[in-house]
Symmetry: C2
Subunit: 391 residues, 2 copies
């Protein structure tokens, strides 16, 4: 209850190369700090319409129920699960990292009878594995992670989607880390519900979670026999605010939606194919540097995410000391390992605004300095430079 | 899926005199747009510590579990209820407006056996009514709204708190609209759980919900036999991120917490007693003007909130036309009636930064213009000027 007033904030300028948040463009920060209007102001309703329309473009969908949930990515996960699951419903959750595990936890709290199938961290599921599990448990919903932020693994979705639908189930997909950095084709892949975060490849500060629901998912929600366990995440209520009736539900985070509007504008102005190509190019340059330093990736090449690079910590290197030096001497944030990978890997993000040749070079240079004596001097930077020269 | 990119945002500058959001100070908008750092960055952990400490000052509490929930005010409501209630627990909810009704809805979704007691919109509960209801239903938790945003009524809490505790129950209080504008004394009143919003008298954009839990509430949460139904709002997990272990839970809305930090700094720099006196003075000036125009308040004088003024719409005035003119011609937002009060009242907010003599005068002047012919010309402004001259 002390009344001492702290000093004003003056945050340092980091290069955000962890698992998110990623670097934020000045225009997005400016939009965030624009004058606040009311949540039922005609101006804000237009902002919502445009956010919704741009989210549909980024999700590659015509889904009517497409919006930003007023919470971070995990709030989007909970929104999808709590709306689709009624107590006693069967849900199959595919767990190959922390976020699949989290989805299973959320589903159980919503009263689902959860069946988990697991793959070791860093690996992905085959369609055959999913098919066998779906046959056995006959789920209402199958939950899977497109881009596991905890491991850096990319899960192919299209074949799995067919299997799930052939079994009459709904497909729920986590695309927190992939949206805006890799193709996420909701309609083409027939994904029934998907959630993302703003702070990854969209490069908007954390605080909102883009979600989208197919007609089949919507119908399943409308056909529920029980009330949705969460009032805050109840899409039957929230959809009235995002839809034509504009009925008040909760006070939307106005300024966060301004920022998302600007981040989506930047994303679409760049163009999705160009944006995906940029993510891939900088990932390949990073890879050239990392391999030239004698370091290795956790994930097999064909399943590697371009925006989240899990790199094995070399023998003799002190995880925290290296990350501390990168942060304190160079203002570069990278992520440590999560869950089973704590202390064993570094997670290097190249998401959205962060994904630039400049950042790849400075990171490799700073990592070389931090691992001096353990890696050949100059090799990583030289290899990345050679890659950029040739590509 | 159109790829047309909307124009950049250029939000109008409103005077926000509705039920929230309120006007935002330039320094708070600047903090909102400051460079984003990571959610485990030592700099951000210090921001969290300072936010927590300042929230304790504003809540007038030493409660360890005091923090900002990563969602708007209703997310704070859900956090309190879902943590305190296990399926089958009895909860008494006092309903005298929309937000008491919402709390009853949230409690039922969490599996509570809900008993509602009701008062007409605009009125408050007597200790005797609470005592009778508590005796009858023997609840685990009693939920009540300190400042009903839908009606403008102020509920005295202290005597009710004694009754609740004498019956061995926990007291949950909604102080969304009161915190920062009226005394909210968590420890002195022995409130066990309370939630607020950032966009009312703290004058920070919407997006976070300050909450606090007493030791008794915390013990009740720790003693639960069932898992908390929400993962996102699970204080047993979130407290580890806000506490010493700093364990990752979800990615906190970094920039929103910067803004809250600055808004709390402004609140404490002004001083709580001075801030409360300012809210009262401007309310009394508004009241002088409103009464001089021949208009009337919904709530009896002794229970009137200074920051949320419910004014009866005079006969013959067109609710939407008047609010439309205020917004379009003068950039002034006021609120319409909610629930049973729709079309019958205007809700005029004088919250935080909005509560200034300048705003009182411009609102009265603009209202006089919008009601020309129905109210005596100049009377409202003259009365408010006279009040300020004398006070």
């Amino acid at each position: 209850m002390s009344s001492a007033v702290p000093a004003p904030l003056f945050p340092p300028r980091r290069i955000l190369m962890g698992p998110g948040p990623s670097d934020i463009a000045p225009s997005v920060l400016a939009a965030l700090g624009a004058p606040t209007v009311g949540h039922l102001d005609p101006y804000f309703l237009k902002v919502m319409d445009e956010v919704q329309s741009m989210l549909r473009s980024v999700f590659q969908t015509t889904n009517e129920l497409t919006m930003s949930v007023s919470g971070t990515g995990s709030a989007g996960m909970e929104t999808c699960v709590v709306n689709l699951i009624e107590p006693g419903d069967r849900m199959l959750v595919c767990v190959n990292g922390v976020f699949g595990g989290r989805m299973a936890d959320v589903a159980a709290r919503c009263g689902a009878e959860v069946t988990k199938i697991e793959r070791p961290y860093g690996e992905v599921f085959t369609p055959e594995e999913i098919e066998a599990a779906v046959k056995q448990c006959q789920p209402k919903v199958v939950g899977i992670v497109h881009a596991e932020t905890s491991t850096g693994a990319l899960q192919p979705i299209e074949e799995i989607s067919k299997i799930v639908h052939n079994a009459g189930a709904l497909l729920l997909m986590d695309c927190v880390t992939s949206l805006g950095g890799l193709p996420v084709e909701i309609d083409k892949w027939q994904v029934d519900a998907a959630y993302s975060g703003t702070q990854k490849c969209l490069s908007c500060p954390p605080g909102l979670s883009p979600v989208t629901f197919s007609k089949a998912a919507n119908d399943a929600i409308s056909a529920r026999k029980t009330k949705i366990a969460s009032w805050y995440f109840d899409t039957l209520l929230v959809r009235n605010y995002w839809g034509q009736s504009r009925a008040y539900h909760h006070t939307a985070p106005i300024n966060m939606n301004y920022a998302l509007h600007e981040a989506l504008r930047q994303t679409l102005a760049e163009g999705l194919p160009a944006r995906f190509a940029r993510h891939k190019r900088n990932h390949l340059a990073l890879r050239a540097g990392i391999e030239a330093m004698g370091l290795s990736f956790v994930v097999a090449e064909q399943y590697r995410l371009p925006m989240l690079n899990s790199i094995r910590i070399p023998d003799g290197a002190d995880d925290k000391a290296v990350r501390g030096r990168l942060l304190n001497d160079f203002g570069i944030e990278i992520g440590g390992g999560l869950g089973a990978m704590a202390g064993k890997v570094w997670r290097v993000g190249l998401m959205g605004e962060t994904s630039t040749p400049r950042n790849v070079l400075v990171f490799l240079a700073a990592l070389e300095g931090s691992l001096a004596g353990k890696v050949p001097a100059g090799a990583g930077v030289a290899a990345a430079n050679a890659f950029y020269g040739a590509n």
